[in-house]
């Protein structure tokens, strides 16, 4: 389909603030999210940079302990709930899900817009706590610190997170219903792109886990405001019960924060290798397995909390089991490159970096799941390194991969390839410099959430702080050249990467109603034209339509 025949793009449907703020077009809602999430990322990043500057010396010289505690609490809260949880689903997912399944929009376009407003309301409400004086509970809100002792604006922040939870649930419901009811003719489940599979799995987790977070936050707020003693040991409550509820949500939530990234990478790797994804079915099912088994392991955050040793052993066992589907994916991605025709455009670079960083973060997860080791490294920088490797090295890198991959589709413009590659390389170097030393720190016994620390840890902290500066540059560069490309970038063709997938069959940027002619699907996903494929790439329903 050539772009000059296509009707006007969704961007041309009006430019006033009204046309954006009242839009129900999923593509525009995606932009609303994109702009807000970018702001939150840089805000959270600024807090991180301040923390790293403080930690460059063992003494607490830049900020006071109270301020430091507020910094990491807000950093965690913002990065997790206001950036990473919605990151790929609400931006790329929102934009691409209907396109990828050949639908005109999500099932509930108004709900989609509403979810953004709810998100903004909740996140700004939580941010109000910053203006008022901040929160100092950590992102985990452990009781009874959060209910009885914290001197920050815990209720405000918790309530904000609670509201944002609604937006997450709305998105989840919308995606689930859309995938079930709006697939194009011929688009069977096993022809769906992996990105759609992962969004579906993510939505499942969103819908079923978020309410439990909501419940625990409600109880915290009730306890603070009304004095109900559910988690207060003095009143017979149990502080560990809060941890159970919190992690029942938060462990599955970490899979909310990685599955969409896995989806993106599963699109990018085949495209730039010009090969079908190796073991498509295994990857699709592994995504579902992660979503389901992810609910069984939350107790691994509580090995030394005083839960019974028996529970510890069970949760450790299940944690090792949940690593298996991820292992399957890593091997499948690697094998996808075999016998391909690989080129190294920016999205591909990011995807390869994802592969490396996710694997290293995931392997560190195995250390944490091994009980005796976790006793030592629990609540140390080893854990901090683990989750930044996965969340920043994995998910944020995947987000960058996806952003560059679909940027032409989103905007109709090409960015500067040279700058893209430089930024990818700078990020990779800066990232490892920032977070690799933290593994060593953790193994040495450096506890997390420390404002000051014994001088013998200084060397590794300095490396890490230096890395954070490089990393910051790595993240600032795309902000600049992508913004620049909006105005000066070359016009993008409909399918610049010669990729498969329905989203590439419509113009760049797509028309408001997505497709001039509604597509039907007759082929499996990742049907790259390749030389030398031995098996016939067909599936049983090929000639259904």
């Amino acid at each position: 389909m050539s772009s000059d025949l296509a009707s006007a793009s969704y961007l041309a449907e009006g430019a006033g603030p009204r046309s954006w703020l009242l839009t129900t077009d999923h593509k525009r809602v995606a932009w609303l999210y994109f702009v807000s999430l970018t702001a939150f990322f840089f805000l959270g990043g600024t807090f991180a940079v301040l923390m790293r500057i403080e930690l460059a010396t063992p003494a607490g010289d830049l900020v006071s302990d109270d301020v430091y505690n507020r910094l990491f609490s807000l950093h965690g809260i913002i990065m997790v709930w206001f950036f990473l949880v919605p990151s790929i689903p609400a931006t790329l997912g929102n934009f691409l899900l209907p396109l990828m399944i050949g639908a005109r929009d999500l099932a509930f376009p108004r709900l989609n817009l509403a979810s953004w407003y709810v998100f903004m309301f909740g996140s700004l409400f939580a941010l109000a706590s910053v203006v008022l004086g901040g929160v100092d509970t950590g992102w985990t809100f452990y009781t009874p610190l959060s209910t009885l002792y914290a001197n920050g604006f815990v209720s405000t922040a918790a309530f904000g997170v609670f509201i944002v939870g609604f937006s997450t649930i709305m998105t989840g419901i919308n995606f689930i219903v859309t995938v079930h009811t709006l697939r194009a003719p011929g688009l069977t489940w096993f022809r769906l792109p992996i990105f759609v599979w992962t969004l579906y799995a993510t939505s499942l987790v969103m819908v079923l886990a978020t309410p439990v977070l909501a419940a625990s936050l409600i109880l915290i707020v009730l306890e603070r405001v009304f004095g109900i003693g559910i988690f207060n040991p003095d009143l017979g409550g149990d502080p560990l019960l809060f941890q159970h509820l919190f992690w029942f949500y938060s462990h599955p939530a970490v899979y909310i924060m990685i599955l969409p990234g896995m989806g993106v990478v599963s699109e990018v790797l085949p495209c730039f290798s010009r090969r079908p994804l190796f073991g498509y079915k295994a990857v699709a099912l592994a995504s579902m397995a992660i979503a389901v088994f992810g609910f069984l392991v939350w107790g691994h955050h509580m090995f030394v909390s005083g839960q019974s040793a028996y529970a510890g052993v069970v949760f450790s066992f299940l944690s090792f089991c949940v690593a298996i589907p991820s292992a399957i994916k890593v091997f499948n991605w690697s094998l996808t490159l075999r016998k391909g025709e690989i080129s190294f455009e920016t999205p591909m670079l990011y995807a390869l970096f994802f592969l490396a960083l996710f694997t290293f973060g995931g392997l560190a997860g195995l250390f944490l799941a091994a009980l005796a080791i976790d006793v030592h490294v629990h609540d140390t920088y080893f854990v901090v390194a683990h989750f930044h490797y996965i969340m920043v090295g994995g998910m944020v890198t995947a987000y960058m991969a996806g952003l560059h991959f679909w940027w032409p589709k989103l905007t109709g413009r090409m960015y500067s390839e040279v700058w893209g590659r430089i930024a990818a390389a700078v990020t990779f170097i800066g990232f490892n410099l920032t977070f690799f030393p933290q593994y060593v720190l953790g193994f040495l016994g450096m506890p997390r959430r420390y404002h000051t620390y014994p001088p013998e840890f200084a060397f590794w902290h300095i490396l890490s702080s230096a890395g954070a500066v490089v990393l910051a540059i790595g993240y600032l560069m795309p902000l600049l050249y992508l913004a620049w490309s909006l105005f000066r970038g070359a016009q993008a063709p409909a399918n610049p990467w010669r990729a498969t997938g329905l989203e590439w069959q419509t113009s760049s940027p797509p028309p408001a109603h997505n497709f001039d002619r509604m597509p039907t699907v007759t082929r499996p996903a990742y049907d790259y034209p390749m030389k030398g494929l031995t098996e016939k790439r067909s599936d049983p329903v090929e000639d259904l339509v």
């Binding site: 994804l277 391909g340 030592h376």
Partner: protein
């Protein structure tokens, strides 16, 4: 060593070596696998870069045997490491029988320790080398966590319950003691040092700490002061169970269940007496919740345990400060 840059933590407890053995094995596995994957991916990336003349015939997009192989291999490796970690972990629950028991109390933002002989110290902990030490942890306010990296031990102190952590120090020296669970403003300042002393030095240190009253003795005084003895004493009018030797023994409850009178049970009996009623008695014991604080509770426990001659894990009676 190496310009003052540390790569490895000190090993100063009996379990440090075995934990590290697991750590380094897992590390070796991770590095090996990481290298393998790197070589694989970089190798493919170079060999099959666009325009290269590599042979691309015979490509496949799936291979059941291969997929089965790596799934099973991952499972096997996972189970090995799981089992290894779990075996080391469950030892945490079984302190050696002859351990010295020290009461540790976390509060914002300090650690307070009391030795069986009654010696008290804050943010410092002196222990003998080569002897098992159990620290029974409680918290007065929020959750704290007792962490000595050199010993590879960590345990949260959760308000409303007691938890034990034990270790056998193997190297005399001074080691960091941290609070690992975030507990508010001065979390990073909450901690100090564990000093491991040779047995003779330890004895003389205990002696130099002055004539402390033993924990159990203080507990005994409390037991009388609070009026416990009024009911539980030998000549009381109220029918209440005698507490001699109760610790560690099974207790029949009114609801026809039997529980072991462990620390949790004793603690609940004092704070929530109506929760589990001993069979054959009226639920008349008042709750002492709010009347005793954590430190006093620890003393009462020490006293109750000292009444248990059968209980091997409580040496308080014979351990009165050696002069």
């Amino acid at each position: 060593m190496s310009f003052g840059i540390r790569f490895f933590p000190q090993e100063a407890s009996s379990i440090a070596g075995s934990v590290d053995a697991l750590f380094y094995t897992l590390l070796a596995f991770a590095v090996a696998l990481g290298l393998f994957l790197t070589v694989l991916v970089v190798g493919y990336a170079v060999k099959y870069r666009i325009g290269s003349a590599a042979d691309r015939t015979g490509a496949r997009a799936r291979s059941l045997p291969l997929e089965m192989a790596w799934t099973i291999a991952s499972l096997v490796m996972a189970f090995i490491f799981f089992g290894w970690g779990a075996v080391l972990f469950v030892r945490r629950d079984r302190p050696p029988p002859d351990a010295v028991e020290i009461a540790g109390l976390g509060k914002q933002w300090m650690w307070e320790f009391r030795h069986p002989g009654g010696q008290r110290e804050i943010n410092e902990l002196h222990v003998p080398v080569g002897k098992a030490v159990v620290v029974s942890l409680a918290s007065q306010d929020v959750i704290h966590s007792f962490y000595v990296p050199a010993f590879r031990v960590k345990q949260d102190a959760v308000p409303g319950r007691t938890a034990n952590v034990w270790f056998i120090a193997t190297q005399p020296g001074r080691y960091h003691l941290f609070c690992a669970e975030y507990c508010g403003t001065q979390h990073s300042e909450m901690g100090g040092w564990v000093t491991v002393l040779a047995p003779e030095q330890y004895a003389s240190w205990l002696g130099s700490q002055g004539e402390g009253e033993s924990l159990a003795t203080s507990g005994g005084k409390l037991f009388r002061a609070l009026g416990c003895s009024g009911c539980h004493g030998n000549f009381s009018k109220v029918r209440a169970p005698g507490l001699d030797g109760v610790f560690g023994q099974p207790v029949a409850l009114a609801n026809r269940q039997t529980v072991i009178a462990d620390e949790r049970y004793l603690r609940d009996s004092i704070l929530v007496p109506n929760k589990e009623i001993a069979a054959g008695y009226q639920p008349v014991m008042p709750s002492f919740d709010g009347l005793v604080d954590e430190a006093e509770l620890q003393m009462l426990m020490a006293y109750l345990k000292s009444l248990s001659l059968q209980s091997p894990s409580f040496p308080a009676a014979k351990n009165e400060a050696p002069q």
